[in-house]
Amino acid sequence: MTQPATPARRNDPAGPPKTSPPRRGDPRAAPGARADVRTLSLLGVLAALIAVGGLTRPEEFLATSNLQLVLTQASVIGVVTVGMTFVITSGGIDLSVGAIVALSSVWATTVATQEYGFTGILFTAVAVGVGCGLVNGVLIAYGGMVPFIATIAMLASARGLALQITDGKTQIVTVDSVLDLGVKDANILGVPPLVLVFAVVVALGWLLLNRTTFGRRTLAVGGNPEAARLAGIDVRRQRLYLYLLSGLCCGIAAFMLIVLSGSGQNTNGNLYELDAIAAAIIGGTLLSGGRGTIAGSLLGVLIFTTITNIFALNNLESAVQQIAKGAIIVAAVLVQHRTLREGRGT
């Protein structure tokens, strides 16, 4: 769960690091220790939330079924956040994730697609996601467009296309093998399949970012693209891959959402971009690029989902929920900064 940061910081002329990242507990490894403090403070916030939930509604909150519920609710946005973390780490942004999820989910649930059953739906969802990611990537990497503009354009067109495909209607899924994945009987040793997918995506994302050349290149491009280019990294191709990766995550998330909601709707994935960015930033990924943490993003997503869960269990109004959510985001970030400063002082 811990997240060793890599030394490829901004202005680091060395580009991709030649040594392996420092480990936890190594007193000399300042960046690693800082990332640890960050992750620990997030764990503290999560623990505090769990305490609140456990105290206010002990029976319902601490039940196994609730753990399954929270993890399931976190899984869809969680997968999107993993892709977003990579893009932000590279210094980019993907504002089109929610729209891509919507487009993938409606394309994969049209009557025509449903004729092809489970594989047809899965393939279409992933292919549409990757396709949108490809367009984003080409526009940004080779078309020289600013990520903010290119992905906002994708947001508009993907939402529009989703609306056109559905004609504003809710497309109900009738393929049983897809629907069955979302019910209790499908749980593997008590773990819902969606949570399993989420876990695999997080694990692969962590490995990819922290243990591969691809991950180091991502950090290098985000830290200082010019230095990365001088170090021999094909920055453009790297950027293309990153938006493809984000699109892929959206495609997977769209399929998960189809399983979860048993339908495709053009309103799906509403404001996912903001949720994913917020979770990644709270987790400790730097909005300006050069630093990214999958474990932090995971914690960010879990904190948000747990807040929603606690509020719903305590039957609080949505207005109160929104106010408190904002306050908790601010509190979490302040706690993080404080712990970081103290950590640096010692």
Binding site: R57, V111, G168, T170, L260, S261, Q265, T267, T308, A312
Partner: protein, 352 residues
């Protein structure tokens, strides 16, 4: 009856009378079998109303919001199909928009084109009041559909659904089912909480439940009319309440998600009532294989009725089945409760 600027509650309840007059609901029966075809053309029944004979040629301008929701889509379909039915009606329909400024521009264009009568479903009723006034001053009668303008001077006739009545009828239906059960518990899944209509629905529901002292509402959460939010909020509600007797969901679109969450949790120990009247909900009520036993209507056929009214106003006629010489100033539709017993009658009006 004094005219109210906000007629949603106190308007004339015409619904059933209109049905018997053959003017509103039955006339919107689709001729298509309720098959799997996604297309529905709900308003082309040949059933003749009193003034079905061709009269003076009328051009009706129709401006609505963007049809990004099943119900709004059905509003457009119903209006189009109804207009096509009349040989003397030409329909000028604008591209829908949720942007107030854009919708004002579209209506302005219709005014400049000198249409005979306007049917307006504003994206935001209060914000579009001025353009309604402007049209009325230019001598173009305005039929205000569903979302009411801030001033009665801005429309000749308001026709719309009854959000308070939806809640009331849902509460009554649940109340009648649970009246003999001591300590009965109900939960509510509301729609977008920032909308006034959601508050009205909840108010109606609460007021109805006051008649049954044995029933307590133990939880209420708000979703946002989407399947996704319906699934998420219902899953949380089910987790929070291990034992309750009835569940009212404001909107059948989010109800698709709610039913999914109920199936996922494997729960079937309560009665569920939906809202709005989507085809998928009516299918489930007819099949009687889930907890969903009823839905309270918010009929999209109101746009077909609005076309009828617009045509009658432009031709200077009254409405069939009533003694009045003039079209009423406000018409509030009745939120009928659709159950297994009467679902066949309403199924053709269900939207997807």
């Amino acid at each position: 009856m004094p005219q109210s600027p906000v007629p949603s509650r106190r308007g004339i309840l015409l619904g059933t009378a209109a049905v018997s007059a053959g003017a509103v609901l039955t006339a919107c029966t689709s001729n298509e079998p309720a098959g799997k075809k996604p297309a529905n053309s709900p308003a082309n029944d040949p059933a003749p109303a009193a003034d079905d004979r061709p009269g003076k040629a009328v051009t009706i301008g129709f401006a609505g919001p963007q049809a990004d929701h099943g119900w709004l889509n059905a509003i457009n379909d119903n209006a189009r199909a109804r207009a096509k039915k009349y040989s003397d009606v030409t329909l000028e329909i604008t591209e829908g928009s949720n942007d107030t400024a854009a919708q004002i521009g579209q209506i302005q264009t219709l005014i400049n084109k000198k249409v005979d009568v306007l049917v307006i479903l504003p994206a935001d009723g209060k914000a579009l009041t001025q353009i309604g006034l402007q049209a009325m001053r230019a001598g173009i009668p305005v039929i205000n559909l569903d979302r009411v303008f801030a001033s009665p001077q801005a429309y000749r006739c308001w026709i719309g659904g009854d959000n308070y009545g939806m809640g009331l009828n849902a509460g009554r239906y649940i109340g009648e089912h649970l009246k003999n059960k001591t300590g009965a518990k109900v939960i509510e899944l509301a729609g977008v909480d920032s909308l006034e209509l959601t508050r009205q629905r909840t108010k109606g529901f609460d007021d109805a439940l006051k008649n049954y002292p044995n029933i307590t509402k133990v939880a209420r959460q708000a979703a946002d009319f989407t399947v996704e939010s319906g699934q998420a909020k219902t899953a949380q509600l089910l987790q929070a309440q291990s034992d309750f007797d009835a569940f009212w969901n404001h909107d059948d679109d989010q109800g698709v998600g709610a039913l999914r969450a109920i199936a996922q949790a494997g729960r079937d120990d309560f009665l569920m009532v939906g809202g709005a009247g989507a085809k998928s909900a009516m299918d489930a009520i007819k099949a009687d294989d889930s907890v969903l036993k009823a839905t309270v209507l918010y009929p999209p056929t109101m746009s077909a009725s609005a076309i009828d009214i617009a045509r009658a106003v432009a031709q200077g006629k009254g409405v069939g089945g009533l003694a009045e010489l003039e079209i009423p100033a406000t018409i509030t539709l009745y939120s009928a409760v659709v159950t297994k017993d009467n679902v066949d009658q309403y199924l053709p009006t269900g939207f997807s």
